[in-house]
Symmetry: C2
């Protein structure tokens, strides 16, 4: 069997996105000239080397070995602790942390590239840093100077890792139902008691300490979401020197037996009078969590892009080596990559992945540029779209990657099943697709009467007009397809607003989210296509981009009208 | 956690399909009155009891335990041998075998119900009998009296099981590349040498002997598919009394480490001079395999229906018990089944499963009634559509079943992941979806200029007209949606025929197959809806059928137009 496990970081694609696709050097724009596209590409090249040489080789072995709990201590797969040290020593944790927290504050659009690569190389492993980054954002926003000094600095340096302790058996999507109790101690600390489940990287052996951010209820707190507070509770309480000291009363009960991401320790944690420290205002816990939600959800979109690309790379490598049968014009046996249907699958995948990747940069750029309420609204509109659309579509892409392999795709040794299994959690965690779509229609579409969506559709119309001015058949086809999609999106948005905040709207919010995702992908291809066709002579990469735009239009924009029909139907009586 | 593993056989649905949905008692029609719908329902009820009480409880344990090979002998999961004996003793193997082979020859449309139930209860287990049935068909068509006496009788009684040995490492989809050699012995037998992979139930411990049907090449045979012959090679050579005697030179090298169907032994078999017996004509091996292909492929559609329904039943049971959050009109906490998006998912699933189930009966009925070349052509048109469409859609349905569970759906103990993993092989084995679609467009659409498809679309037009005559909003909506789908199907068919046998056609053959699948599902709902609305007073089951028809139109017929756009695009340059 061909070795299809190599990971090739898409550095060239990011170079194109940073320097050309959006009409200017967007890295320079985001950093006021402090960094250029070239600098960012250098950073991605270095990260890509680490990702492909250190992290990617541990992906399948981590899946097979999984996580074990020995004497109440979670043990990660072989190689993970060393790999974590390599990431820390190369400075990547610090690079992604905001300057206000003592990090390098790389712009979000550069972090898009990093996020994709870490996740493509090894999703289970990448989750550790993703959770740490979330904890950094929450502490940076709300923690007292003392907590910043004790915990935030250690997270930013990568010495310690972070977690989010939200879910309980009866409180999943509905965090208002949380029962973990925090009772005040005489010394100003709190005593935490309760059980938390689904805690990603909740225990491990890759760093010296773990900083848990814990949602809990306090005595006499108001019922529901308004009575939730946020606490820090470390695995080991810092001693006088700040080093990990006494073990806190937090027990790792078990790790979950999951469909995928076997290398990531998903823990059940029992808090039995654990010492905690209040972060921010009493009863302000959910606000503390929401502060990290944008970046965490955007991170999920990057994870979806990464897993999708790894699955695609693997299936393309297999298809280029696997000889089987004959096609019409190659009767003597051909690599299956040249069979028309395998080629269709590969083009369907690659064209969607390139749209996802561009959208990650685009959304990062919106956040980097957001200066006023309008800019923030536009950036935030895309968070649920990017998270929901990419994670749902990653299911199909990782499934197609199996299909390309034929029977071999069902065999674990081929590597294809792992991506399919790993991807399945993405439309669930960090808010299910339904949660994303409720956020989208409630807070971001119906509330402003569709004004922000209209801005995006105006940009689609501009991009379409730009393509119409080009003398190229793919530009003409793409413009025509995008215009039809835009019209359908306009109608669906009007329909949704007409529904208002009713069951009809919530019953079709996911199809509506997906519709906007496909349109956003089309906008990305329109921008990339225009930039590509501006080249005087065309390279292989240019030819690939033109083909991807065409394939995206044929295979994905074609799905928009049907989704608009679903929206029009509302809830089925 | 709620126990969601119970399986409720859909006997009532089959009662409706047999007696009402198609306007008359189709069982009586298929059997010339020998059996009635009521008789068939009694049979399904008995089978359903065995399926739910004996087979279903072994589904998850079989997945966990998997298959091991000890001293060259495959060992199936605990309970499988006893369950197999129960199936044999109840007479189900014999019931499904054709009368010409000594079986009871239940009509295909009744076997549709059986096939769905066996697979819903325990797909891994059900594969054993499915393969035996295939072997029975092949031997019944081609074997000499001596081979019939020695092997066919034992298969029909269920004493022994059968397998198909087709695939080799270099010969998957392309069977012409087979290298296993059969050299003639002096006594008229053959000596088989080579390695076969992906052999479903290739070795096990549930019955006394295994009858392998093996494709092999003979010395001096023509190259490619025309040089392949079919042989019988038993695990144990029968002794003078016909009982299993000397072990044949067939070694179980290993069982595959698969994504799913862990309870089904997928074997690598090594033939090292094994004794084989020629079946049918020398070099006529592929014809021998093709004879069982229709029933095997229809069987895959039933498997897809069964797995989909089991996943649906599980997720619905979970959603009805899981309390979480509040919805607009139920602020005090509600079962998630009443959340608008969960309800959307459940309706999307149930409406498609009911279409699949009806299509299984419809296709069985076409085969039961096929009397001339025209009838056979019509029946055979549906084979790739039913196999391809249902197995592809089962991926989405089993994925939706996970989504309904939220985070719990990613945990293996919930049972939801198993269906997702098990289902993933279905669009691959018995011919990938690309193979189905090539068969569809090549042999069944382009060859007759679309005449057979046109007959189906005429039936769609008739069913639409019948709905238009009914005074009911769902009938009106369904008619309108079905008419749009029919027009799109007509255009796509014309486009395909215009492409001819070119890369453009093969590059969009899968989308075209899916399009016809959705239209066929719409036809089923139109027929069921008309039969339901004919009732004077409406039961809960009637209300469910009306709702399913509406949901199918909104969520699935809406996909047809986009697929027609994909077909129109042809191959991406």
């Amino acid at each position: 069997m061909a070795d299809t496990s190599a990971y090739v970081p898409p550095v060239d694609d990011y170079a194109f996105l940073f320097a050309e696709a959006f009409g200017e050097d967007v890295v320079a724009r985001a950093t006021g000239g402090a960094l250029s596209a070239e600098d960012a590409v250098d950073a991605l090249a270095a990260a890509g080397e680490l990702a492909s040489e250190v992290l990617a080789p541990l992906n399948m072995s981590g899946d097979r070995e999984g996580v074990t709990v020995i004497d109440g201590q979670a043990k990660t797969p072989a190689g993970f602790p060393e790999a974590y040290r390599a990431v820390v020593e190369a400075g990547w944790i610090t690079a992604e942390a905001p300057e206000s927290a003592g990090g390098d504050g790389l712009p979000a659009l550069v972090q898009a590239g990093l996020g994709e690569m870490w996740n493509a190389a090894n999703t289970s492993f990448a989750l550790c840093s993703a959770l740490t980054t979330g904890a950094i954002h929450a502490l940076d926003a709300y923690a007292s100077d003392e907590l910043r000094e004790q915990y935030l600095t250690k997270l930013v340096s990568g010495e310690w890792t972070g977690t989010m302790n939200l879910t309980e058996p009866q409180a999943g999507t509905d965090l208002g139902a949380i029962r973990t109790m925090a009772t005040p101690n005489d010394d100003g600390t709190w005593s935490l008691k309760g059980q938390k489940i689904f805690i990603t990287w909740g225990d491990h052996d890759v760093a010296d300490n773990i900083v848990h951010l814990v949602l809990a209820r306090t005595p006499d707190a108001p019922a529901g979401a308004k009575g939730i507070s946020l606490f820090v509770a470390p695995k080991f309480l810092p001693d006088a020197s700040g080093a990990p000291g006494e073990r806190n009363a937090i027990t790792t009960v078990s790790v979950e037996h999951k469909l995928g991401i076997h290398g990531s320790p998903t823990c059940v944690l029992d808090y039995d009078g654990a010492t905690g420290f209040l972060v921010g205002e009493l009863h302000g816990g959910l606000a503390g969590m929401f502060v990290m939600m944008n970046s965490a959800r955007v991170g999920m979109g990057l994870q979806a892009t990464g897993i999708s690309d790894r699955a695609y790379q693997r299936s393309r490598a297999y298809a280029e080596e696997r000889m089987q049968g004959s096609v019409l014009d190659r009767p003597d046996g051909t690599p299956i990559a040249e069979h028309p249907d395998v080629r269709r699958l590969l083009l369907s995948m690659s064209s969607e992945i390139s749209a996802m990747r561009a959208l990650g940069v685009y959304v990062g750029d919106l956040f980097d540029r957001a200066e006023d309420a309008d800019g923030i609204r536009l950036a935030e509109l895309f968070v649920p779209i990017f998270k929901g659309w990419t994670t749902e579509e990653a299911l199909r892409i990782t499934s197609d990657a199996i299909q390309v392999h034929g029977g071999m795709g069902f065999i674990e040794e081929s590597g294809a099943p792992q991506h399919y299994r790993d991807a399945r959690i993405m439309p669930i965690y960090e808010g299910t697709t339904a949660i994303q779509s409720n956020d989208l229609i409630g807070r971001k579409v119906i509330r402003d009467g569709g004004a922000t969506v209209a801005r995006v559709l105006d940009e689609v119309a501009e991009a379409t007009a730009a393509l119409e001015g080009l003398d190229h058949p793919v530009a003409a086809r793409t413009a025509e397809r995008l215009e039809r999609a835009r019209v359908a999106a306009e109608a669906a948005t009007a329909q949704l607003i007409a529904f208002g905040m009713t069951r009809d709207a919530y019953a079709v919010s996911v199809p509506y989210l997906m519709l906007l995702g496909f349109v956003a992908g089309g906008l990305m291809h329109a921008r990339m296509l225009a930039a590509t066709l501006a080249h005087e002579t065309q390279t292989d990469a240019d030819a690939r981009r033109i083909r991807d735009a065409d394939a995206y239009g044929a295979h994905h924009l074609s799905r928009v009208a049907g989704l608009a029909d679903v929206v029009a139907a509302g809830e089925i009586g």
